[in-house]
Amino acid sequence: MWLWFAKLGSPKWFYDVSDRWLPWLAGAMALFMIVGVIWALLFLPPDYQQGLTTRILVIHVAVAGTSLAFFPLMAVAGTITLVWKMKLADMVAKNAAALGAWFSFVTLATGSIWGSVMWGTWWEWTDARLVSMLFQFFLLLSVVALRSAIEDTDKAAKACALLSIVGCINVVIIKYSVEWWNVLHQPASPLSMSSDNANGPEFWMATGVMIIAVYLFFIVSLILTTRNEILQREKRSQWVQDIVRAA
């Protein structure tokens, strides 16, 4: 019987390891975040075309870049859930879906705030990246919705794992087809976000720091929620009881 638990990609191991790593990760995150934000807000020189709105792009690009990681992550976790029936993978995937929806939403929000300056409109269908991000947002929400609709944890895990794999393939196809659609509809906007490369090296260095900060934030947040999930699902086990008693 203990073999059965040991086979499940031991949540206890993850809990212990994350316990040791969490302070370091959180510290690094705070450091990069503060450096990145101060650099972006105070030191970044104005762009010749976009003025000080590059300060928006630093955040937007960092969040958008990270939000592309979610479906691949969930697809890998889903494959592990379906093939090796590892419970830990599903605990990560469950929280990744909700966090991914947050990331997509913030990407859309910051993108449209930036657009309100550069395009003079809050929403622009001719920007392929925003449109495919919108559909990624919908698909992530559908994974969250499916999870909450199925009561049985095991069944929900498998169903969401499959949907994540299908969704991941779909997001890629949607991305390419939206770009294709976009090219043929002749973008009217003078400035798409793909002209980012017009930005100078300072911009990319500040953005690089911010991307690392946001990735660290993503990892820390995911670890925190996964640890909660572990506590809840393993509450009968002795080691969780010990933690509870010590707390």
Partner: protein
């Protein structure tokens, strides 16, 4: 490459070259986003620990009474 503060006064900094609303809105959204996704899990953890504690106390009193 020289790095220097791009603003000479606080009010200029707050104004963000005329894009005050947009720039500060993005940073506000970002801040809320980070805050929610870090603080909520920590608060939830406390709640979960409390709940598990309550449950296990119940179970222990159960077994005590049957002993």
């Amino acid at each position: 490459m020289t790095q220097s503060i791009q603003f000479s006064s606080i009010s200029e900094f707050l104004d963000m070259g005329g894009y005050a609303f947009n720039v500060w809105a993005v940073y506000a959204v970002f801040l809320v986003f980070i805050f929610v996704n870090l603080v909520f899990p920590i608060v939830r953890r406390k709640k979960i620990l409390r709940e598990i504690k309550k449950q296990s106390v119940f179970e222990h009193t159960d077994t005590d009474s049957t002993d």
